[in-house]
Symmetry: C2
Subunit: 234 residues, 2 copies
Amino acid sequence: MAHGQAGTGQSASAQAAPRRGRPGYDLESLLAVAVTVFNERGYDGTSMEDLARRLGISKSSIYYHVESKEELLALALDRALNGLFAVAGEVTASGGPAIQRLERLVRGSVGVLADRLPYVTLLLRARGNTRTERRALARRREFDQIVADLVAEAEQDGEIRPDVDPAVTARLLFGLVNSLVEWYRPGRRAASASELADAVCAVAFDGLRIRRVSRAESPRTGPPATDSARASAF
Amino acid sequence: MAHGQAGTGQSASAQAAPRRGRPGYDLESLLAVAVTVFNERGYDGTSMEDLARRLGISKSSIYYHVESKEELLALALDRALNGLFAVAGEVTASGGPAIQRLERLVRGSVGVLADRLPYVTLLLRARGNTRTERRALARRREFDQIVADLVAEAEQDGEIRPDVDPAVTARLLFGLVNSLVEWYRPGRRAASASELADAVCAVAFDGLRIRRVSRAESPRTGPPATDSARASAF
């Protein structure tokens, strides 16, 4: 009886999911498993049979939710990209000096990465083998351009070291952020996303930011620099 | 005739290769092509048929050089790992403060990465699906431990910021180095390995190194700090 009740409960909550519902998996939980398998075996190396086996459901149950394997890929990559572009939009709207916007972009991106780790991992491994991957890579380049523009602007402001090419600086900065997917695993004993962002900003920005020994804050800055990298610099 | 002569010349040089020689490909050039294909398709997704087709030779011609696909993988991964461990060995033997040894290790690793880019790329993508990959991952962990120990030693020396966990610092530092495989492509207009190492060290170490305003060099240091990150810090 207890088992039956649990089953009923699960089925009821699945049916309450918006638009597409089916006992066992809603689109969200289906996608989460699919992304895990894509990351383990590679997207190209994963068949719908593989997914059905892992999910413990039939292929037709998967087709109830999506039209193709590539639709799952598209949904997964968008999950990562939409997160990153949401941060970029907020940062652009926030105003302030370019160096502060750049730091907010880094912090926000670390947050997206920690929160949507499997999705971002899949994005960073996309090589352009399908139309969906190529579209995702185009959006990644668009995001990278936002970063590169901010770095160039901050350098023009005299806030970022001029001895490293801004394009290289931008790549190194997000190379550092993206490298987190290789080792960061959220969990009980792991650093929080916020602590992780502190560490990344501390390491990255104390390298990037030109140090002004015994000089007042730039008058242009408005409020004092409260972003964590500066606060935790020493 | 010209074609024939070229063929003879190639074959002669191939036969001059040590131990294993065969007209068309020596082990070295065979390995270079295999690594390219492994990186494109993934090791698991590459068959000996795929390799033979790309090389334009028969499978038995490949077996003339190696016993299995996994032997090619092992040779390729060792090419990357032996380079990194050679640098680690030189650095350990060089002595000096930990912060300088750490910087030399970073510079040397960037050099290995630039020089053996496809091999290091393959190493960084290894996920432990075969015994050979697991052996390589164990050697990578050994290398990472060398980095972590150096970071901890430099922090004990008071040379590295204490507000970031040394283990996290070590991961961020080599995350930065390893991220180069995602975008660095040696070529006419590309930065040299040395310029790349300058940029990495400038960004990384100006974040890591505790700044001592108007203080003499540590007496322990011996020779003045000539490593590039310090020289190009501002």
